[in-house]
């Protein structure tokens, strides 16, 4: 009798509890996605300021967002460390003619977020103009309460 009562109570309440959990986690992920988009935007602004000022402005912001052991793969397949990436930006090798990013997609796995998107910026890199869109993937991990960019890779989108 007692067992039947517990069972029916469980059958009545568990689906509701489960339904209640799903929106919560979806909402939490939506919040994380918003946060990541904001940080990624801040990173891009800091990067543009850093490039334009040859490293005079935007450095502290980039330093905070880039993880110390950042893995950065550029469109030439070059693997750069955080220091090499910052030097590349500071050196004047890169100039932005225009800046654009779209087609974002984010996947949240707890304290890890995988983000992909399309970069449409027109850039001059080592004297060569590049207008071809690039597909990029960013991986953010929350460390000591802060989201840090641990990996970035960009690939030129080939014509079909």
């Amino acid at each position: 009798m007692r067992f039947a009562l517990v069972l029916s109570l469980a059958m009545l309440t568990i689906p509701g509890v489960l339904r209640g959990q799903k929106p919560d986690s979806t909402n939490a992920n939506a919040e994380i996605e918003k946060e990541i988009l904001k940080i990624d935007d801040e990173k891009d602004h800091a990067m543009q300021r850093y490039v334009a000022s040859h490293g005079e402005v935007g450095g502290p912001e980039l330093d905070q967002i880039y993880a110390d052991d950042l893995v950065f793969v550029n469109t030439h397949g070059g693997l750069l460390t955080k220091a090499q990436r910052l030097e590349d930006l500071r050196s004047g090798n890169l100039k932005f003619i225009s800046f654009g990013r779209d087609s974002y997609s984010l996947h949240v796995y707890g304290d890890t977020v995988v983000m992909t998107g399309r970069a449409t910026s027109e850039v001059v890199y080592m004297g060569k103009v590049n207008r071809i869109p690039r597909r990029f993937t960013n991986v953010y991990i929350k460390m000591a309460g802060q989201w840090r960019l641990v990996a970035h890779q960009a690939t030129t989108i080939a014509e079909p």
Binding site: T75, H76, L79, T116, V150, Q153, A158
Partner: protein, 174 residues
């Protein structure tokens, strides 16, 4: 007299504690560091064995194995900058649109963060992709996340290596 003796005993006790701590602590800390490094290396080994399993399945077109390793929400960007889902990737193997003429992948670097592993490496495999042969070496980054106790492949991106930096291509020419 007895107060002075008590002070001496307390001082001696303190001295013993300090000596014990200074001699044992560095050893304990080193042991902790070793354990941390050991854990990281164990994770690297685990990830590498999954990579090998995945690579073997890719060569055989064994989508059953790939189904297990690939996360359902996989983000896969190939060397042509095309974004593929897990389903897209499975279809490519099932249809025979991806065939390996030769397979070589390595020069791995691991970055381990608790439940996430970032792996970079170089692929020099010759691949027949939708009827086009690609021999150009690629740099790739793969991301693994531990989900329900299993490491799953959640993201991958490949980029053709260009620009002629010799260290980039050293792995493939060896």
């Amino acid at each position: 007299m007895s107060q002075g003796r008590n002070r001496c005993v307390r001082l001696l006790r303190c001295l013993v504690v300090v000596t014990v701590l200074t001699t044992t602590w560095p050893g304990l800390l080193r042991a902790e560091e070793r354990q941390g490094a050991g854990q990281v290396s164990a994770i690297e080994k685990e990830i590498l064995s999954i990579e090998n399993l995945k690579n073997d399945a890719m060569q055989k077109g064994d989508t059953k194995v790939l189904e297990q390793i690939y996360s359902d929400r996989l983000i896969f960007v190939n060397a042509r900058g095309l974004l593929l889902t897990k389903q897209d990737r499975m279809k490519e193997f099932d249809s025979g649109n991806v065939k390996y003429v030769s397979f070589r992948q390595g020069d791995y670097q691991f970055h381990i963060y608790e439940n996430t592993a970032i792996v970079t490496g170089i692929a020099c495999s010759v691949v027949d992709y939708h009827g086009r042969i690609n021999r150009i070496p690629r740099r790739f980054t793969s991301t693994y996340v531990k989900l329900d106790g299993h490491w799953r492949f959640v993201a991958h991106q490949a980029t053709l290596i260009s620009g002629g930096k010799s260290e980039n291509l050293q792995y493939c020419s060896n």
